[in-house]
Symmetry: C2
Subunit: 362 residues, 2 copies
């Protein structure tokens, strides 16, 4: 069937879709920056906001952001999206990227991280208006500004849509869920050498909240709102699949924190140094001998290369690579079987996401 | 005229109004806490959130929070508010207090403050689930949680009101304005000893954004939304009076940072140590001799009691107490004349606020 509607967009390749997505970033950034002179902000403040947005929002893999458009395309089942629908889906996609930037800027301070996306974390970068010194704790306020940008953009493009308040509600709820996840993450390692909280149950709760809601449920739910879906069971079904998918994604992130190449993952793993309740340490405790666990208690959570090496050596002896591979296969089969039972919305929405993460570069 | 409406509340004294306001704080806190067990949050996490809210949201002067009810009462001109209207105005008042808590928790980290409301700043308090150490940078995420509480409460009580989206918009906009003010504040003192940015113009821009919008305009604008006011000129008129009022309030705060008693203001002034673009230093530069200004350049912005003493000695020589008193009288007269010209809404709304700040304890 030929679509003669002038406003319909031609079917795009993945590369063209990515180009469309990347292309609107400067448009959105400009929407934010162009208000600042009228608010009497001095040039160096505008330059600060511009640099801060560019450094922190762009340069990621953009999987979360692209997922809004991909999901919407599959949700409308066959009908071609108009140019305007594509643009709006991508605006929401960028809002997810802005949300992630908000969290990452603060997370890097709280985790004392060194690098992010192949460059120093924002709080460690040079302060452009000081003779010396870094951005430092000003990055806290910068993270707030990144969050505010979300609501500037949503208001600009969605204020008159009937689902405007629904979009705001879901961004608020997802932010709160992520913050609770961060709180769990930051309080599950109260004392070094105490492994009592490092259980898989605790781990799963942390990652569901700190990662899965915003990375997997949010982009799909936004597409569902744009598609006019209002049925609560549809949103529940989506959650039921996307939260476990997000859990696997975080397990993978934890695995890569230890075994991924910094050149590929863009950051230097620090979960061992930071005494994190990582999937790796939980599995090591489950699968190690009492002697191995005692050694881990002595050396885990110390910011010292020789201790880190020793922890990694024990991980090797326990065979965490094989345990991860088995877990990956299992979780893949589990998700496929869950997806096959979905009737309330197109299964392809979930298959598409699944295919993105299970071929992630290891 | 007798009001026979059963749901109308009797006219209250200021003391009873304050009691009403204070009374609903635990109700609102409970609205937030009661959701957490169903979200699978462990008891120590719920206890953390509870303590964090109690320490940071309550215990302030609550002027901002009470202003919503006071303004609404004056806006409905004579009609008695129902119990439900009073409750809802106080909910929005507490949301303003929650917004302030969000900003203060982060501001104290960024300013390296020591005390707040007579106790150690939240980030310096003991970490309740660690054997030693403080809350530290976890307070960053705690500040995010305080912000999220605003939207939980607004959704709970206002989701079905026609002005729901307007309330959300104004909280978003005010947050952004405050964040820009914080950015200005944090970047106006790039290098110690450089006074080039310490001008009254720069100062006024900083305080309009970092203080006046959220402390003065927001509570009144919320009352206006509740009162059903939709006229843009009314909101402009309110801004036109409330932003200069907020500016004077911050000048007073800067004066008290230097000359107020810590027992009265609940915090230990650190503007001199932190090299802040304070009203005091701006006026000292305007009114001091070249010799005095050179001495200030040498000693301002050092975290050292003898330097701070010297700065205060020069302030005394320049006569900043008298300059402040004159400025206070002038700004009072200026605001009164502005208020007298208001026709679009009751002048009493502004007079009430003015009377609160111009009798503030010095
Ligand atoms: Mg991190
Ligand atoms: Mg983290
Ligand atoms: Mg990680
Ligand atoms: Mg401060
Ligand atoms: Mg400050
Ligand atoms: Mg102050």
């Amino acid at each position: 069937e030929l679509n003669m509607n002038q406003t319909s967009a031609p079917i795009k390749t993945a590369k063209e879709e990515l180009a469309d997505f990347v292309e609107i970033f400067p448009i959105l950034t400009n929407e934010i920056l162009k208000e600042l002179p009228g608010m009497d902000m001095p040039p160096q403040t505008i330059a600060w906001v511009e640099k801060m947005i560019n450094v922190n929002v762009s340069g990621g893999k953009m999987n979360r952001g692209l997922t809004v458009l991909h999901s919407l395309q599959l949700l409308v089942e066959g009908r071609q999206l108009s140019r305007s629908e594509i643009f709006l889906a991508n605006v929401l996609g960028w809002c997810v990227e802005w949300l992630q930037a908000f969290f990452l800027v603060a997370d890097d301070i709280m985790d004392q991280s060194i690098t992010r996306r192949g460059q120093p974390c924002w709080y460690r970068q040079a302060n452009p208006i000081s003779n010396n010194g870094t951005i430092g704790s000003i990055a806290i306020n910068d993270s707030f500004i990144l969050e505010s940008c979300i609501y500037i953009l949503i208001k600009k493009y969605f204020r008159n849509e009937p689902y405007y308040a629904d979009i705001l509600d879901i961004f608020h709820e997802t932010s709160y869920q992520t913050e609770l996840g961060q709180l769990l993450d930051l309080t599950t390692q109260p004392n070094r050498g105490d492994f009592s909280l490092f259980t898989l149950n605790t781990y799963r709760r942390i990652v569901k909240y700190k990662t899965a809601y915003y990375s997997f449920y949010l982009p799909v739910a936004l597409a569902m709102l744009m598609a006019g879906i209002t049925s609560t069971p549809a949103f529940s079904t989506a959650k039921d699949i996307l939260l476990p998918m997000g859990e696997f994604f975080q397990v993978q992130d934890d695995f890569l924190d230890c075994y991924g190449s910094p050149a590929v993952i863009g950051k230097i793993g620090r979960d061992i140094e930071e005494n994190k309740c990582s999937w790796m340490i939980c599995q090591a405790i489950l699968n190690g001998t009492p002697e191995q666990i005692n050694l881990l208690k002595k050396h885990y959570g110390l910011d010292n290369p020789t201790d880190v090496e020793l922890v990694k050596k024990i991980y090797g002896e326990i065979g965490l690579k094989k345990i991860f591979k088995d877990y990956e296969d299992e979780s893949y089969a589990f998700l496929i079987s869950k997806i096959k039972s979905v009737r309330i919305m197109p299964q392809e929405v979930f298959i598409k996401l699944l295919s993105k993460i299970y071929k992630r570069d290891l």
